[in-house]
Symmetry: C2
Subunit: 332 residues, 2 copies
């Protein structure tokens, strides 16, 4: 996060853009101190006072609630609390990273407020059985599908064949909730004749994101499925350390890297800050600072393209966190 | 399927093993004719008369039930009907197929009778919302986890580092049903001190199966997650056309390729029969005809190793379905 703040501030100052930072503690550490994963009033400030929120990874696997789930995870609090219904996860192969048969450049639009995650904290659990619910509402599916089609119309970037398409990822062959999702998808698709409507079952999507990633432009899917597919996609482009994400609502939005807190390498100058840097660029783009966003993205791309940044097989940068930051700063 | 039957018969006759085949229609075509996806009495015959069942792909995407799900899919009928609770899906890189940093040789043990699939055909659906349930029982989780540890103890093959391990794949950080799954996993793991107990969240598993497949030995997970991960795994070793699977219960078992019916290439001499051939070998192994199973597996490996079989980027064999069959037959 330090890296992103530094780069964001430097890029903004080049463009004469005044940026004011606030800090709001949250996550596992805050939970241990206060019993709540977020300080009082933070949610309201995110909504009413800040233009946007840049979130760092804040979970700790060993900090758990009595029901066994993780206590420091802010997703439920923020995504539901701010109704940031669209989790936008671009997957793009940076220049110089590796040979790929075709360019990889797609966006996963993950529904962020319902689906299987609606059960978060409310599933049944006793000695003999446990259950969660996968719930989809017409309201929720319509708005996420529309968001996906709008993204296909407006985004920079395109799949290998240049065709703007939205792929509906569902398991409608087995589950009624997904059949419902797909039927609504088909209804909305009819309103966007300029965008190709495409379908993949969840298992086939997992296969094709590996075997034929160049096919995809925008994918839209349920919360839990989107969670898995976006990590999968990240693995095909150099790992979680390269992938940004945004959580977008009508009123507010927050931005975070796709990766977690990786406590084993925290503070060791090993983590790849690229994800957090591209996340800062997404944030700037969202608040209208398009030029400054491009400045950061361009500097990141340049640092990869000319070989200043190289990744180890495990996804950590050979030049360390500081090395990546310096390489990007000098190319802003 | 024709290919598998031919190779199975030829291999068996080499070993003086008498094999009697029966045919039981089922799937989309049977549903269209009779309103049921399986002919009357078939389930009982599978259980009481056959030693094992070799199933071909039988679905057709456009043949749907009123609730929108696919009508020809036999999984629900067979897996529940025969209580074949363990869906065993080996993922192995065949020799000669491609460069990989480490060998890929693991088995996904997918729970086959509960989880999200328990909702199959019983989810709620109306105009405004739809839902399915993810249910896990102690009985169901215990038996699948035990099955996974037994598999790790006994299987041929091992991960890159040779360590026997079982990876529990769950989303216990968010969902209570998965926290339940993981707790039971940890209980059972204590009974197997000779096998390493390992954990991955569902999203991390999707990532690592791409980024570090050599790590895995046996993975155990819920039904819906296992469905996605096994297709993903297949994509890393040349596609669905290379992956066999077995559905194993206490009393009976059936075996099927991981791929679907692929109506667009059916009958065109394009499909890769390898999956069906290795599936036949799994079946033989299961009924105790270990030598004949090895004969088939060995012939398949030889055909790949010496380059007689090569795959197109889309996974179809360059020599066609017949070509693969001939190459394997001549190497039995
Ligand atoms: C930390 C975890 C709860 C979270 C999620 O599952 O949504 C993360 O994986 C993500 O993708 O943002
Ligand atoms: C056809 C489909 C219902 C089935 C499943 O989801 O189980 C298939 O994908 C499989 O993996 O066997």
């Amino acid at each position: 996060m330090g890296s992103a703040r530094e780069v964001l501030a430097a890029a903004a100052s080049r463009d004469g853009l005044a940026v004011e930072f606030g800090d709001e503690p949250g996550g596992a550490a805050t939970y241990l101190e206060t019993g709540e994963p977020l300080v009082a009033g933070a949610l309201e400030r995110f909504r009413d006072e800040y233009d946007a929120v840049l979130k760092g990874p804040v979970g700790l696997p060993e900090v758990r609630k009595p029901d066994g789930t993780e206590a420091g995870v802010l997703g439920g609090v923020l995504r539901t609390g701010l109704d940031t219904y669209a989790n936008v996860r671009p997957v793009r192969l940076l220049p110089g990273l590796r040979d790929s048969a075709s360019p990889i450049d797609y966006v996963i639009v993950r529904e962020n407020t319902e689906g299987l995650y609606l059960s978060r904290g409310s599933g049944v659990r006793n000695e003999r059985a446990a259950s969660d619910q996968l719930l989809m509402t017409r309201f929720g599916v319509e708005r996420i599908v529309r968001f996906a089609f709008e993204t296909a119309r407006t985004r920079n970037g395109a799949p290998g064949d240049g065709v703007r398409r939205v792929t509906c990822v569902d398991k409608s062959n087995v589950l009624r909730s997904f059949a419902f999702f797909r039927d609504i998808f088909d209804e909305i698709a009819a309103e966007y004749p300029d965008v190709e409507a495409d379908h993949r079952y969840t298992d086939a999507a997992a296969h094709d994101l590996v075997a034929d990633p160049g096919h995809f432009d925008v994918l839209v899917t349920e919360n839990f499925v989107g969670d898995m597919l976006s990590d999968l996609g990240a693995a095909t482009v150099g790992g979680l350390g390269t992938c940004p994400s945004g959580n977008i609502g009508e009123r507010t939005a927050y931005f975070e890297p796709v990766h977690g807190s990786a406590p084993s390498i925290a503070g060791k100058d090993q983590a790849n800050p690229t994800s957090q840097l591209l996340t800062a660029a997404m944030l700037l783009d969202h608040v209208g600072a398009t030029g400054t966003a491009k400045r950061i993205t361009g500097a990141v791309e340049a640092a990869y393209a000319d070989g200043a940044v190289r990744l180890n097989p495990n996804g950590t940068p050979t030049c360390g966190t500081r090395g990546v930051t310096a390489a990007v700063l000098s190319r802003l």
